[in-house]
Symmetry: C2
Subunit: 366 residues, 2 copies
């Protein structure tokens, strides 16, 4: 018996997502300490007091199953966005929600459209179903919505749009998105992935668009600005009808109790988000100025990370940085073999990364 | 646009799993306090000191992504069972692992065999794929392995066996299981769901069987005896080849950091498991004697719960118990409309449940 022969061909063809290297893993490999990780777009501020208190309370009940309906968190989200709780689907990170959406609406005979350089989970969830990934070429490293629209066929069931996009940090205007939504047939689900929306300064509230576009689904996460990457909480906002069908396939306890409690607390912690944005803006400037000083081009970013061109094989530079105890993310798997994606960290971490990069690139020139 | 028309027909046909009623939900509905829940087979002992300490440590890093490979937990599991870590697949509860196994090996054209009265997640994950559920009639409320074997066809891809079974608590001998495994073609994945194995006194180590049966997959959970239902950690043990393909479809961060840390601590806490088993045996005796005194038949159980026949519509009795602040689980959805499944709680909770049951059944006789 060969398990690969028994498994479905679309599963054996999968190449799993490569996460950012955990600090503990690099410590084991190199036997060094004092490692910094700027590889997974994590919030450098650490958990807020409100989150720590919520976790401590929830910990008392770890022998109990989570609330499968996520009553308190959904109520908090509904209140924040002035939506009905029936419009919310909770996920084990937004990865879970993205996968549930694909599994709900897309069959092996269907097509899913997304952009070149878009989030790696889109092709993965499409491939896991055995559906066809239809990839639109990028424009200036960002989504080319016209190109995406031209790829729509009778088989298109779902379109993923990341705004801001990961790993490039590019951003689409509300006007461009509204034009796209107006042009897209109502029988195609449009998933607007706003994992990094809290870092932008966009003024229009995309949640208001749900009333006009019943095929629009907005996904958001607590892993980035809300600082809860460890806990895996994401959600979608949609019409109640879409949420109803997606919730039928959702695992009943997909979000754990501590995650539910922490996310509910985080959602009300406006100061934390304000501090997060401010620190991110300063860190972004620090990197932009640092890259300019090094003569390196970067892709202007609206996220909490920045893609920098290193003019050589980024995988080599990545390894050189690892040796210096700095974890970044090479994005060759995104078709950007000469770019590194660097998350915005603390000022001292950003400086250490810039110094290590200087060293790495000079070493290369030896 | 109608979302139900857009969704895949196998998804819209899903009736989601009905979890046990959370205490907070009943509090909101009835406006009462002092509610006890014996509905979800949770460990009544509460979290151990080791688990609380592990959670406190892990909480410091909630802004960081989990280790997607679960290095420490896999190492602890591998050490406990003397297996290679490549034989382990971690899940967001064993629900996640059961779903991943089905999605890896079963297509819409295939068949999945399981028993009448078996765990509700088996038909759900089968239906979500659009595959055919083939249900073998039970024998004395338990699995009839001969009947299951007779249902094997060329389309059978996977067989679920729960031992002990939930919700009935029935148990299969090692000899019966080994005969079944010997008779089952190697190209059919046999999933042996041992969510409640820690409560049994079985002496044979099923993990040893993995060497002889490359198509065998054993699933286990931290939600029951290990007391971590809130945190969602389950796992499968299998051949490395099976684990390899299943891990390709696994969401990269499906188990959260606090769950990984708590489970690693719980696995080494042998005293907690010993106390859990002892308390469960005493509570089981308490319920058995109580039911006998009330003249009620029950299904002898090897789990941490017991199914009692209430000689009338169990849904009515369930509601009467709810009014008295006691949450149990009616199992009409399992085809047992006159049974209640009751989890073994603290001695005082068990007594309160028996008293409430006496009241409920007397009230009915008025």
């Amino acid at each position: 018996m060969n398990a690969c022969d028994l498994a479905l061909p679309n599963i054996t063809a999968l190449k799993p997502y490569q996460p950012g290297k955990p600090i503990a893993e690099l410590e084991r490999e190199l036997g060094i300490k004092n490692i910094i990780k700027l590889a997974s777009n994590e919030n450098p501020l650490g958990p807020s007091e409100a989150v720590l208190a919520a976790i401590a309370t929830a910990t008392k009940d770890v022998t109990r199953y989570p609330d499968g309906n996520g009553f308190s968190l959904k109520a908090a989200i509904a209140d924040k966005y002035q939506l009905d709780h029936h419009q919310i689907t909770l996920g084990n990170g937004s990865n879970d929600v993205l996968e549930l959406l694909a599994r709900t609406f897309v069959s092996a005979q269907d097509e899913v459209i997304f952009s070149q350089y878009a989030f790696a989970v889109y092709p993965l969830v499409t491939q896991a179903i055995g559906a066809k990934s239809v990839i639109a070429g990028a424009k200036d490293y960002g989504h080319d919505l016209d190109a995406m629209q031209r790829l729509v066929t009778g088989k298109t069931k779902l379109i993923f749009i990341a705004n801001p996009n990961n790993p490039t940090g590019t951003h689409l205007s509300s006007e461009a998105l509204l034009t796209f939504l107006d042009q897209t047939p109502e029988n195609i689900i449009v998933v607007l992935d706003e994992a990094y929306v809290e870092y932008t300064t966009q003024t229009s509230n995309t949640v208001d668009w749900l009333r006009r576009y019943p095929n629009l689904v907005i996904t958001r996460t607590f892993s980035k600005a809300y600082g809860l990457a460890a806990l895996r909480v994401g959600y979608s906002l949609s019409s109640p009808a879409v949420a109803d069908v997606v919730n039928r396939i959702r695992q009943p306890f997909n979000v754990n109790s501590i995650a539910l409690a922490a996310a509910t607390a985080a959602l009300g912690d406006h100061d934390y988000i304000a501090q997060t944005k401010q620190a991110n803006e300063l860190g972004m400037q620090q990197f932009e100025l640092g890259f300019q000083a090094l003569g390196l081009d970067f892709i202007p970013s609206k996220g909490n990370f920045i893609c920098v061109g290193v003019k050589t094989k980024a995988e080599t530079v990545f390894h050189s940085l690892l040796q210096q105890g700095v974890i970044t993310r090479p994005v060759g798997n995104y078709g950007l073999p000469q770019h590194l994606r660097i998350s915005i960290g603390h000022e001292s971490e950003n400086q250490r990364c810039l110094d290590a990069l200087t060293m790495a690139l000079e070493l290369k020139h030896d």
